[in-house]
Symmetry: C2
């Protein structure tokens, strides 16, 4: 396909998606060009629109098209609680539970020194300002339970406790619906320590 | 993310790519918006460009930006040989071997009655016209060695043999560099039957 610049450019463009290598990109390009040109146009417009319109909420950092996102503007939310999550997808997961009616702060990442992601890249200064503004009485850390998520939670917890705030973390334990025999040992050990 | 139309549109757009579900699409959208907005713009332009510029070569059906592709126009190619492949990616694989200097016909698919893909969808009438035009002396069937690829090869072979043409198929056998112990039985059986 040496003489086909548009096709090569499309394959290169698709490779910028995470988890897409040259074979997947070729397959995607073939599918779009052969079976779904309308889809290619739709995706092109969506990319263009999203990459120019979407910015970060001035209060919680999540993706929004306005200055302040709808969640932050919602007057029925309990402003005394602030839930810290890594990504908008994590925020959406918490929202779907309907178990939380407070506000959010979305880090848009996690501390990851190996990848060069430090406190400034996840807006910790802004989080600390917001948490200590007087309105917030409890900060709930809902970062992921991975090594990096735990480290991020630890750093935030230490900093906020030093400022005299109440800081909690999502409970760790046995997932709903699971049988003990099939749950990993680390999870059972944590559930045993945190028994209530 | 209920109030975020651009983001939802982007996730829906990414889901039109083959093999991408809603979780992958969300992850891709997050990556592009948070870490690679330039990539989103590049991909949008590549999609736009490719979906308007790329058409099918009037002779061999492969993707090209011109009326006739570079391969078909190359005067150093042996026009007496015609290699039938399923996709431009298959054509590129044959080209990389440098073992073939004839021309191609790209089906842009394969016969697949369950998916409603019949002879008209893969341009068989055009292939038969071209093969019987007088120039072509040998048709080499290089469709994939899957059930559908084999069926497609069989249909084409029967039709062309009935028109008195020489039709060959890529050899089936033990792949280069492999140890017999680890080769599947069907392949060894075929290699035994086709021994030379």
């Amino acid at each position: 396909m040496a003489d086909n610049n548009s096709l090569n450019a499309l394959i290169e463009g698709l490779r910028r998606l995470p988890g897409v290598g040259v074979k997947s990109a070729s397959r995607m390009a073939f599918h779009l060009l052969q079976h779904d040109r309308a889809g290619a146009q739709v995706l092109a417009q969506a990319l263009q629109q999203a990459s120019t319109q979407i910015r970060h909420c001035a209060r919680c950092h999540t993706f929004t098209e306005s200055e302040i996102c709808q969640t932050c503007l919602d007057p029925s939310r309990d402003a005394s609680k602030l839930c810290v999550v890594e990504t908008p997808a994590d925020q959406a997961a918490v929202e779907r539970t309907s178990a939380y009616r407070g506000l959010y702060f979305v880090l848009m990442g996690k501390l990851s020194p190996l990848d060069g992601i430090g406190p400034n890249d996840i807006g910790l200064a802004k989080l600390f300002d917001r948490a200590t503004s007087g309105l917030v009485q409890e900060v709930i850390l809902a970062t992921n339970f991975t090594a990096e998520g735990e480290a991020t939670a630890h750093v935030i917890a230490e900093a906020l406790k030093a400022r005299g705030l109440k800081v909690t973390r999502l409970a760790r334990g046995v997932p709903a619906g699971s049988e003990l025999e099939y749950v990993d040992l680390g999870t059972i050990a944590h559930a045993m320590v945190d028994r209530r």
